[in-house]
């Protein structure tokens, strides 16, 4: 039986700061105590491939890197996935964006999550092949784990208020 709440850590362990999600997942899983309804996992996937993972979950927190260029590396951004816009066009290749994947899933009759939040770290380098994150992004891992626990508490606060 799938757990209804998913902490979905994305990224690539061999691409410098893109290894952030993998490290956050490792810490969460090692520490344990997430609760019976909550699963944390790391997936080096994007686009279409996310549909399988999101299907039949109620709430999802995606942990990933982001490059806004508007905040120092290591800054954490927490926002609703709703503010990401669907692809208007597909220029480059193979991936469809998260919002497009979600809309596609809904159209195909898949059970998509009620709500998806995103916790993203501002990355400094996601193009150098390396198993080491840049220092500021690496330092943000602990804070991200704390933020995830606060996010989890928030779900239950909301649930108990209903």
């Amino acid at each position: 039986m799938l757990k209804p709440v998913l902490i979905l850590c994305l990224g690539n362990e061999v691409l410098s700061d893109d290894g952030f999600g993998a490290e956050v997942a490792r810490r969460l899983i090692e520490a344990g105590g997430l609760g019976e309804e909550i699963e944390a996992l790391f997936a080096p996937l994007a686009g279409f491939n996310l549909l399988d993972l999101l299907q039949a979950r109620r709430r999802v927190l995606i942990v990933d890197t982001i490059c806004t260029g508007k905040a120092p590396p290591g800054t954490l951004h927490l926002f609703s996935a709703d503010i990401l816009v669907p692809s208007r066009n597909l220029t480059t290749s193979h991936q469809i964006s998260l919002p497009t994947a979600l809309e596609l899933g809904r159209q195909m009759g898949m059970l998509m999550p009620e709500r998806i939040d995103v916790l993203a770290v501002e990355a400094e380098d996601v193009t150098t092949l390396s198993e080491t994150m840049t220092p500021r992004v690496s330092q943000a891992v602990s804070e991200a784990v704390d933020q995830i626990r606060i996010w989890i508490d928030g779900i239950y606060v909301v649930s108990s208020c209903r």
């Binding site: 893109d18 508007k70 926002f79 290749s93 193979h94 469809i96 809309e103």
Partner: protein, 494 residues
Amino acid sequence: MKSIVIDPITRLEGHGKIHLFVNDDGSLANCYFQVPELRGFEKFCQGRPVEEMCRITTRICGVCPDAHHMAAAKAADAVYGATLPSAAVKLRNLVYNAFYAGDHTTHFYALGGPDFVCGPDAPAAERNILGVIAKVGIEAGKKVIAQRARGQRVIEIIGGKKVHPVTALPGGMSKRVTKAEQEEMIKIGGEMVEFAKFTLKVLDDVVLANKAYVDLILSDAYAHKTYNMGLVDENNKVNFYEGKVRVVGPDGKEHCKYEPKDYLEYVAEHVEPHSYLKYPYLKKIGWKGFVDGVDSGVYKASPLSRLNVSDGMATPLAQAEYERFYETLTKDKSGKTMVNATLATHWARVVELVYACEATLKLAQDDEITSDKIHNPPKGIVGEGVGIVEAPRGTLTHHYKTDQKGIVTEANLIVGTTNNNAPITMSIKRAAEGLIKKGTKVTDGILNRIEMAFRAYDPCFGCATHSLPGEMPLEVIVHDAESGEVVQTARQHC
């Protein structure tokens, strides 16, 4: 934690950029495209066992992990001088064709297809997979999703993991296939062939029945008479996993046919001062600039070029479609006359999709795939090896040198898209020349017409980066050719 506003465009540094330099008289002086590339591959590989490369390199490309797995595995076979049992070769071919069946499906329906299914002039908001589904129906969408799942299931059975296979070893494979798994794959193969027939009908009904689209495919604006590259088997039939690399000129004459280990005798890389991109070209002809013709060493490596270098397809439905492709576009079903229309690449991709589905079924039906003999342990070491496969988006070369313990000392890759850097530049320029004049406002429609040239190659850039939003928007930047000043910028999502 600071709160900041996240723009819809979240990945400013991740953009693909097309720079256009326009002269005072309005003509196009130059153009090039710029994309983020991964850095440090060779350094990253050094010091690692070569047999690990096929597992690590799946992570350098989030799109063709299976292609990197196979090319790296073949290179490691060569480093150890290993020969594979027949069952292992069949398993590799099977999993690779199943991967192709999924990958080409994605491109046709989600990425390239919208230009044709929705139309190149459709509003941008509709020109995506959601628009395709709106036009061809929800049921078709479900078929596409199911087809992708089939490919992934075969990868999971043979490769040991979905998406990122881990099964190949120097000298063979590590995971045997059970009779029950074979039965499941036969069922999957049969369903894939039905899906291929459905796709042919979509192609017929939506694209080929529309004369305007066929005219667009054949228009000079999207044509280049370059050399073509692709792997072929001993009968010069298209093969994605093994064979020799064949290069055929725009005149239909064979330029060369070589073993993977000899690639450096035939391919060299040109560097332009304005760009960090490398532009591979045919060494024996030479770099003559971004020009086509038999005297220019520019070549393309794509579904279209693979069809052009081959004498046909090794399966019946795909062969029939191959003949229809050439009959329609050249009036000669033999395939001896080259198709040079870039946009025909989309149709060529469908021909290959049909082949991949048929090959998956045929290989799944072969009882030898359940053999216990799937690995010949290497007995010595050569210390150098080249592995070449056809990635969906072009010929993929992995080349490693190692010490006597198999530890990598040098590494070189030519990835599928890199082969096409020069023809992509030429295609963009050709499309832009007809559309961009000084003072022209680059509208969304113009942007899309330029992008269409680019998109036909199914390019793959810096693709291991999974940062949000999970795609790479494109910018077109118009410069004054003399001053370099930016005159206008057009960008998606704006």
